[in-house]
């Protein structure tokens, strides 16, 4: 009687996505394009944060564009278009995260060399986007003061893959009894040493610091 055969394959399950993302990152970086993947739960204020970012960049004559992922509706793309930047909506129709192929398909007829920055606003979800590389150079995790200081401990996987974190709606910190030091310590516990920005699109807090971070990261691309 024949025995079953075990094949040791040792392959990354998301190999196809990883390989495509790597190829995309190489292309983006060679064009001097800094791509940012923005992840957070729904309601953190990703769209407002992005709109403020795009408006300030454009006001300085720095070309930037965005693609925005949502399960349904193109409301976010319409909100963002008010900034004057080119914006594309990716509707995932039920899928809880973006994958590299979806991003690539939506960039097809843009001349990427025209932009300095491309922002990808991921689907609002703190679990599913974690494992999907979208070819970004920077992953930004956002956390609003209304969500509580322990979010990073509840979703360590996502915070752990981020390069930088932004606490949003910091102007509401007092009203929400949000403890900044605890929040920072929690982020540090799951991603030791990561830079954390305290931001508010209402007061403008932290936004210049964020733009300075972007400029530094873009300067590191060396196209």
């Amino acid at each position: 009687m024949t025995q079953p055969r075990i094949l040791e394959v040792r392959t990354r399950i998301l190999k196809k996505n990883d390989e495509l993302a790597r190829e995309m990152r190489r292309e983006f970086e060679s064009l001097g394009l800094l791509v940012v993947n923005m992840v957070s739960s729904p309601g953190t204020g990703k769209t407002a944060f992005l709109k403020e970012t795009l408006s300030r960049l454009l006001a300085r004559g720095i070309p930037a564009a965005a693609v925005v992922g949502d399960v349904e509706t193109d409301n976010d793309a319409r909100r963002l278009a008010a900034s004057g930047a080119p914006v594309r909506q990716i509707m995932t129709h039920g899928l809880c995260h973006l994958e590299a192929e979806m991003v690539r398909a939506h960039l097809a007829d843009w001349n990427l060399a025209d932009f300095h920055y491309l922002f990808i606003e991921n689907v609002g979800n703190l679990v599913c986007p974690t494992s999907w590389d979208l070819g970004e150079s920077v992953r930004l995790a956002l956390l609003s003061v209304t969500e509580g200081e322990d979010k990073p401990l509840k979703y360590p996987g996502l915070f752990n893959t981020a390069d930088i974190a932004a606490i949003t709606k910091i102007d509401l910190a007092e009203a929400c009894e949000f403890d900044r030091e605890t929040a920072r310590a929690n982020i540090d516990a799951v991603r030791p040493g990561m830079q954390v920005l305290e931001t508010s699109v209402k007061t403008g807090a932290g936004i210049e610091e964020w733009l300075a971070y972007l400029a530094t990261r873009r300067a590191m691309l060396n196209p």
Partner: protein, 119 residues
């Protein structure tokens, strides 16, 4: 439910490998899943059952090896396994370390090819 996408990728990969070896039935699949990878085991099992239906993997056993997080502690100069996932601190000295050596795996480890049935 990103587990559905993961399960679909597993099926595609496993079939790709089995095609090189006679394209028969696959009777088991072993995955290595790191604790930081955000995969829910029950959802993955459910998705796997769903997407293998009508494929050479139908009815295949799904083995999942959970991989704990291991960090490099620069103070102790040693690799340490962590009991949880919420604090990347050395369990011996408490030093926080972002140098992750294991725990992010999302790998197809092996597939088991069923013996060919004799006529």
């Amino acid at each position: 439910m990103h587990e559905l996408s993961i399960a679909m990728n597993v099926v595609e990969l496993a079939r790709g490998h089995s095609r090189l070896h006679g394209d028969g039935r696959i009777s088991a699949v072993t995955l290595r899943i790191g604790r930081l990878s955000c995969v829910h085991e029950d959802s993955l099992r459910y998705s796997f059952e769903l997407v293998t239906e009508g494929t050479p993997l139908a009815g295949a056993r799904l083995r999942i090896i959970e991989v704990p997080i291991r960090i490099w502690c620069p103070t102790c100069e040693a690799e340490r396994e962590l009991p949880g996932i919420q604090r990347l601190a050395c369990p011996e000295c408490g030093h926080l370390s972002g140098e992750i050596r294991a725990g992010r795996e999302l790998d197809l480890e092996s597939i088991e090819l069923a013996p060919e049935t004799t006529p």
